[in-house]
């Protein structure tokens, strides 16, 4: 039995999304609800135009 399970490697894709969200939260002026919705899209791997458009249209002023 193992005591140190392998962690999921941080791929380049993951790194890009990490930096993206970090910057959005820090200095974009985008509301938290919208960031949470974007994060949900990224996590569920469903970033397409209709879903992004929905987040944009439901967003508050930047």
């Amino acid at each position: 039995m193992s005591d140190n399970l392998p962690s999921e490697p941080s791929s380049v894709v993951d790194q890009i999304f990490e930096v993206f969200f970090e910057n959005l939260e820090t200095d974009s002026g985008i509301d938290k609800d919208s960031i949470a919705k974007l994060r949900k899209l990224v996590n569920s791997r469903t970033i397409d135009y209709p879903s992004i458009a929905k987040v944009i249209e439901e967003s508050k002023d930047v």
């Binding site: 039995m1 193992s2 005591d3 140190n4 399970l5 392998p6 962690s7 999921e8 490697p9 791929s11 380049v12 894709v13 790194q15 890009i16 999304f17 930096v19 993206f20 910057n23 959005l24 974009s28 002026g29 985008i30 919208s34 974007l38 990224v42 791997r45 970033i47 397409d48 135009y49 209709p50 992004i52 458009a53 944009i56 249209e57 967003s59 508050k60 002023d61 930047v62």
Partner: protein
């Protein structure tokens, strides 16, 4: 992850094959068609559920299920690859199995590690294997294709599809904002036309309203309001909705002139070209138009398909797991160029509409006045122009719907938007209005102005609200796109910087003194990757431009190793190099061995090559031990490849002798002898007597190999004599003497006369007696290898120039004897 053992059943050209690796490197050598790439394909399948060889350009009609399995096996459950692996952080050995009847499922035991292994393999997807085909894609591709290859390697397709979506959102919402702004400006301009206030402000508008209310003897408003401007006012007795007011009609006609003047200031030929040019480009490439037409369909397909889609959600076609989404994504990316052209057309059409629509509205109003005053001749002229503008409207709608123009038609705006006699026509109408209604009262004019302003406020407020929403959406879309681009550029920029530096280091090591000032530039561009390399201090150029094929190959290998080093180090240690040194010369192959040994000692390499000399070099450089050298030969469709592990035969024979199994030891000696001399014949380019069926045994291989070596030594001695190189000549003579002694000691000549007889005789010997025979054979075999002091012990081989043998060498170059006599040297 490291590979401990591998079993392949009914896959590609392999029927049943087991390889023990123990986490160490192996080198599989063999001629083309010997089955070595089947091992690479099998591992590719085990790790990804796919075979890279069966995907991509030129593989239409080829599928994993039909062409990945062994051609004679119809039971897909029996076609499988299994392996025992060690994964970092897990103490237990894991067993992995993937079968062709369920290629998307990796069976992992113990089962509890299934998720971790799948995540690991998902992350490294494609990063474990470099083939010669990949090298060409890395190095020879243009920047967008190279980007695609490297993106595939880095699994960046998801990032690129996200980028495409965000760029599209940014452009779409920017266009909506611009259109909303135009509507707002147009609505504001109507207010200016009514009030004749050049820059209306709430304060000045309130003053305007109150001034007209005062004329109508009403109380002033305290603050600006947009509705019910005539509140508490009585309609003047002389006002009629159908009456004409010369003052106001003059304003309306001035508006027509103003709109016409806006068009006069435009260069209509340039504006026409801004639509015609992108349309011509679209027309010139039917694929662009097709991409535009299918774009929505592809987007819909991507929305509906899941990761492991086996069935196309649009047409119900069957797909191999994991292949549909990359296919649709690549189609979507190809449509990006078409999108750019379509956007150019849309922007130009919007500009034309921004000119034509206010003109049309003003003309319609002027025409209604002309009809009211029964100025029919002038109305006809205005109507004719309005008809032309409506015709333009239809044409523009067709353009934005289909991105085409009717055959032979080119957009010429002058035809629709220019009118020479406008001022004369409008003056004629105004004269009639003045003569028919000379005495409009101030009250009537004030009443009409308040009505008009109310009418102006409705579209203005609607446009203002739309613009505010559009501005908010556009700012949001721009912000997320910009932040995403920054994140992408930052992470990829850092990655490519490190990869570029490692690439340069590896390339310099590979090419030594010749390239000690070599440099390279690897950087992300908007949608591609720029890759320029130094050419002997003369500047940086694309690799394909000036470098030789061999240099390009070594660049591809170095780039892959640099990427692999950055991405997988410590996570996935297995690297497969499939026949990657085809165009690299002997010296640089030797260097590549050193590069692999010195920089990638912690990796497990599986290397295939058709070049046995390079395989020996890899052994000499300690990248692989004798046990790790596997030579595939005599492949057949029924049996798959035979594996020659001659390096191991002495220990195998010894095992049999220890057990007293003379029969087993004899069989190993005979089989080992055949395999060994088969290999020698290939390296020394020996001639073997023809035999129908193409099957040779010990009695055929040995004389040919001996004759080949003697012939090479004879030529080397003649060459040394011609160059008066006495030391070399003596070296060769000693070698010849050793060879003769070894031949005599082994008594091999007796055995080769009748292999069946000698094999039988061996079986009749006592273990100790057979041991002596084995010892003499071992000495004989060693003669065909490097015997120099501190030499590599690798088999000797010939090199060729102009199809003729020019030297006899070993992998470490301790033996490097020319075969060319002084008189024949060029």
């Amino acid at each position: 992850m490291k590979l401990l053992s591998l079993e392949i059943k009914q896959v590609r050209g392999i029927k049943d094959l087991s390889l023990g690796l123990d986490g160490k490197n192996i080198v599989i050598s063999g001629i083309n068609g010997s089955g070595k790439s089947g091992v690479v394909d099998a591992l590719d399948f085990l790790f990804t559920g796919q075979m890279g060889r069966l995907i991509g350009t030129g593989t239409q009609g080829i599928s994993l299920k039909k062409h990945g399995k062994h051609i004679d096996c119809d039971d897909l459950a029996q076609c499988l690859v299994s392996a025992t692996v060690m994964v970092k952080g897990i103490k237990e050995q894991l067993r992995l199995v993937r079968r062709f009847n369920d290629s998307s499922t990796l069976e992992v035991s113990p089962e509890q590690f299934t998720d971790q292994v799948n995540k690991l393999l998902h992350a490294i997807k494609g990063q474990h294997l470099l083939t010669r085909r990949d090298i060409l894609r890395f190095v020879a591709a243009d920047k967008n294709d190279r980007a695609q290859q490297i993106q595939n390697l880095l699994n960046l397709n998801e990032i690129e599809s996200t980028r495409t979506v965000l760029v599209k959102a940014k452009n779409v919402y920017e266009n909506i904002k611009q259109a909303a702004n135009r509507d707002l400006q147009e609505a504001a301009r109507q207010i200016v036309a009514t009030t004749e206030i050049p820059t209306p402000l709430p304060r000045t508008l309130l003053a305007f309203i109150n001034k007209n209310r005062a004329i109508l003897r009403g109380q002033p408003f305290l603050q600006l309001q947009y509705l019910d401007l005539k509140k508490d006012l009585s309609r003047p007795a002389d006002y009629s909705a159908n009456s004409l007011n010369p003052k106001l009609s003059a304003i309306d006609f001035a508006e027509v002139i103003k709109q016409a003047d806006r068009i006069v200031t435009e260069d209509l030929s340039v504006l026409s070209a801004s639509v015609n040019n992108p349309l011509t480009k679209i027309k010139s490439d039917p694929l662009i138009l097709k991409n535009l037409k299918t774009r929505r369909l592809v987007e819909l397909g991507l929305e509906l398909a899941d990761d492991d889609a086996l069935l196309c959600p649009l047409c119900d076609s069957h797909w191999t797991s994991g292949e549909l989404i990359p296919y649709l994504t690549s189609k979507q990316e190809k449509a990006e160029a078409a999108d750019i052209l379509a956007n150019e057309v849309n922007v130009a059409v919007d500009r034309i509409k921004a000119l034509a629509e206010p003109l049309k509205a003003a003309l319609a109003k002027a025409n209604s006045i002309a009809i009211k005053i029964e100025s029919f001749a002038e109305s006809k002229k205005l109507r004719t122009w309005l008809d032309r503008i409506e015709e333009l409207d239809d044409l523009l709608s067709m353009i934005t719907d289909t991105y085409t123009l009717p055959e032979g038609v080119e957009l010429s705006l002058a035809k629709y938007l220019e009118e020479a006699q406008l001022a004369v026509t409008l003056k004629s109408i105004q004269d009639k209005v003045v003569s028919a209604s000379p005495s409009a009262t101030a009250e009537g004019t004030a009443w009409e102005l308040l009505i008009r302003l109310e009418e102006n406020f409705i579209p203005y407020n609607r446009a203002k609200r739309r613009f505010q929403i559009a501005r908010k959406n556009s700012a949001f879309a721009t912000t997320i796109n910009d932040h995403f681009s920054q994140a992408r550029e930052m992470v990829l920029g850092d990655l490519y910087k490190v990869v570029g530096e490692t690439f340069v280091t590896l390339y310099r090591e590979l090419h030594g003194d010749h390239e000690d000032r070599f440099g390279a530039n690897l950087e992300p561009t908007l949608a591609g990757i720029k890759f320029d390399v130094d050419f002997h201090g003369r500047g940086q150029f694309p690799p394909l431009a000036l470098h030789s094929e061999g240099h390009q190959d070594s660049m591809g290998v170095c780039l892959f190793l640099a990427l692999s080093d950055r991405l997988n180090k410590g996570v996935f240690d297995l690297v497969m190099l499939d026949d990657v040194v085809m165009s690299v010369d002997v010296e640089h192959r030797q260097k590549l061995c050193e590069v692999l040994r010195d920089n990638f000692g912690d990796r497990q390499f599986i290397i295939t090559t058709h070049d046995k000399v390079w395989a020996e070099m890899l052994r000499t450089a300690t990248i692989v031990n004798r046990k790790g050298l596997k030579e595939f030969f005599n492949w057949s469709i029924d049996a798959g490849p035979n594996i020659f592990e001659s390096q191991d035969i002495w220990s195998r024979i010894d095992e049999y002798l220890q057990k007293g199994d003379v029969s087993g030891a004899s069989g190993q000696l005979r089989r080992g002898g055949e395999e060994f001399f088969h290999s020698v014949c290939e390296r020394l380019d020996c001639t073997i007597k023809f035999r129908s069926g193409g099957r040779w045994d010990f009695g055929h291989y040995y004389p040919a190999a001996l004759s080949g070596l003697k012939d090479a030594l004879k030529k080397a001695r003649a060459s040394a004599t011609s160059w008066e190189n006495e030391v070399r000549k003596q070296e060769i003579e000693q070698f010849e003497q050793l060879l003769n002694e070894a031949v005599q000691n082994s008594d091999v000549e007796r055995w080769v006369i009748n292999p069946t007889v000698h094999f039988t005789e061996w079986m009749n010997l006592q273990p100790r007696e057979l041991g002596k025979v084995v010892e003499s054979y071992q000495q004989l075999f060693s003669i065909f290898s490097c015997r120099a002091e501190n030499g590599c012990g690798s088999p000797l081989y010939l090199t060729f120039a102009n199809m003729k043998p020019d030297s006899l060498r070993c992998a470490c170059n301790a033996i490097n004897w020319s075969l060319i006599k002084k008189d024949d040297a060029g």
